[in-house]
Symmetry: C2
Subunit: 414 residues, 2 copies
């Protein structure tokens, strides 16, 4: 995969220029685009941005994120074909201010829900890249893009990252403002980053948020890791279990304290509450599309919205109360561990392009607003990557990244 | 003032039709528009909507709320002139589904900040109607509109309602989804309603949220009221104090338990934190306007955004932590009272149209996400109304409305 830090080092060392680095990335994108179909539209005029921490870095922007310079079609041209926002989303302004270049708008499932684009998994073209941040995950996983933006409401950053072998972080809820991002569920929607390594994620997140403390310390203590199976969510595939076992073993060999954690029933309640909150809020967020453009709403999200009409406010209020209670209970889980280690996805990417896979192992953490990092490191048959997920307490994004780097290095040493 | 319930009763009783009721409202608006200038644009084709709880009711929609059928200029035509959103905001879909008619887009300060429109106070044209929901408050206060939408980030619903003698509710944070509303501060922005009476507010809120339990019970116990001066926010004008004293006295005479509550220092900390949160989030929310259209940003909000550039993430994080802590502490305040009674604004509307007044008595409650209701009932010299504010715990919007009705009836009996 491409490396943000590597590109910046080469620019700084005089091996290349920011302008050439952008050109090289755009050429790499073009060379694979026929195969993986990651972009709704590439930036034909991509040039290096102003001086800044990301000058020379081309970034993919998921096509539900408003851009003043590109149409934003939400993965649903039937309703948003040719739609040109007046302004940029807050995160797009942040990336321009950091000197980054928009590589283009990356393909998304319709409205970041379940109707898949034609994007293909870069490691096996017969398989889905996952979703909803399909194009961002595929382009980074393919090694043609150093950094990309995605969004997660259930599992739309971590799951496609796992399927495509990319590193990714879904930060703490609203660490990155979602202003100018098409809303699915205001309590859950979270912007995230895909990159070629943990240090790139930390650097990118620091550059885009102005939070320098997210840059990783050089070294430190081995983390105390709690491994969670999330039984309430059902079982993983054998490859998903193997990837988790391998990561746990690698971390332990590298000096981490690793033990299994059992989450009590209330976490299962919260896991179920996530779906109610997501669906109830989607009913309101897509109120106009559903009531005025029903027949243009793609079938997957339309079914979701059909079912959403039946959810009463009282059920939603109950779900929110459960979430509130479980966020507090989560503190106890971290009494004597630093991070959790769990599945990023049930297993490798499903075959075909119709289904983008199952977010069941992501829902709880998104609801809790906790930072999650995907670490690749296992490859199933068919050349299909399977990642694992590091989860830290809300607001401890640096801790999540630190532990993810530890596990990543441990896996590379195995 | 016009009454929603009255109009509906007359339609149901056959005294008028929904179509005629809409026409009458539009004529009333037109008859006063030269004087009060409440509308950015009125709906020239206003007709009765589909059958529903608000059929026959024309509603003013603040011009930072997206409408598929009307341009939405954010009070800033220099940047958003002629801007036509593709879809309706979630609340606009809800009002159409309830059968309501959009009376037009009401004037707002630029981006719901401090740069005032030319709207005038209906009770004294030499005075401001307040802001930022200037047109909505003025039109309802003038008696030419039965219902209107506003938004509050600091005090932009309750304060102009007080100045214009309108009833208004700023509900619990996100009781009404803000999807499709121009974001100022995602942690604070709250949609609210203006109407001619408490029963209208309850009815409108129930119709727009599908929460039937917000319709008020016919009778019940006299509320236990805590009167709070908010010393940390500074002093009110003598008229503001007189309005509060009068309301407290009226409530007590009508049988309420009324006692003074002193809020501890941490509430003052939260009051100060509100400003930091609002300003830091505005920096991100208006990132595109500030960085790409700086000279078109009106001077008041530009100054705010200039100062916002200096706020560090750490200061914002501290402010959020304070808010989180104080939300919990707020529970203790309500141990033996039902609602708080405090100032809606420091006093009557300032003279002139340049300043929309001071939100200092509204900031804390917006930060806490608590439902607030303005109850008119006092008139200062110059024919200027001064309201009082009822505040209930988060999620207890029905309690806020119930107590507000009690105080309102008590004031009318004085």
């Amino acid at each position: 995969m491409m490396s943000v830090l590597d590109i910046l080092r080469r620019i700084e060392g005089g091996e290349t220029t920011a302008e050439n680095a952008i050109r090289a990335t755009m050429e790499a994108i073009a060379s694979k685009e026929d195969e993986i179909r990651a972009f709704a539209r590439a930036n034909a005029d991509a040039r290096a941005g102003a001086a800044g921490p990301l000058c020379g870095i081309a970034i993919g922007v998921k096509d539900i994120i408003d851009t003043a310079d590109f149409v934003t079609e939400m993965g649903c041209p039937a309703i948003y074909g040719g739609w040109q926002p007046r302004g940029d989303a807050a995160i797009v302004t942040a990336l321009k201010q950091a000197g980054a270049t928009i590589a283009g708008k990356t393909k998304t499932t319709a409205f970041a829900a379940s109707d898949a684009p034609d994007t293909r998994n870069p490691h096996n073209l017969a398989h889905t890249p996952g979703g909803s941040s399909s194009g961002s995950a595929a382009a980074v996983g393919a090694g043609v893009l150093p950094l990309a933006l995605g969004t997660q409401t259930a599992g739309s950053v971590i799951r496609p990252a796992s399927f495509c072998g990319a590193y990714a972080i879904k930060p703490s809820y609203r660490l990155i403002p979602t202003v100018g991002v098409k809303c699915f569920s205001w309590s859950l929607d979270t912007l995230g980053l895909f990159a070629g390594g943990i240090a790139d994620l930390a650097y990118g997140l620091a550059a885009l948020t102005g939070r320098g403390d997210l840059k990783l310390a050089a070294a430190g203590n081995a983390p105390r890791i709690g491994v969670v199976a999330q039984y309430f969510a059902g079982d993983p595939d054998p490859d998903g279990q193997a990837a988790l076992d391998r990561a746990a073993q690698a971390a332990e060999r590298a000096g981490a304290t690793v033990r299994t954690i059992a989450l009590s029933d209330i976490f299962g309640q919260a896991w179920r509450a996530q779906h109610i909150i997501q669906t109830f809020e989607a009913k309101h967020a897509f109120g106009w599309e559903y009531s005025e453009r029903y027949h243009d709403v793609p079938p997957g999200i339309r079914r979701t919205l059909d079912s959403a009409q039946k959810i009463e406010p009282a059920a939603y209020d109950d779900a929110r109360r459960i979430a509130h209670r479980v966020r507090r209970a989560m503190n106890d889980v971290f009494a004597d561990i630093d991070v959790l280690l769990t599945f990023s996805a049930p297993g490798p990417a499903p075959s075909g392009l119709d289904s983008t896979g199952d977010a069941k192992f992501n829902r709880l953490w998104t609801l809790m607003g906790m930072p999650c990092v995907n670490v690749p490191g296992y490859v199933a048959s068919g050349n299909l990557p399977v990642g694992v997920q590091i989860v830290a307490p809300f607001g401890q994004d640096d801790r999540a990244l630190y532990a993810a780097r530890f596990v990543d290095e441990a896996l590379k040493k195995l």
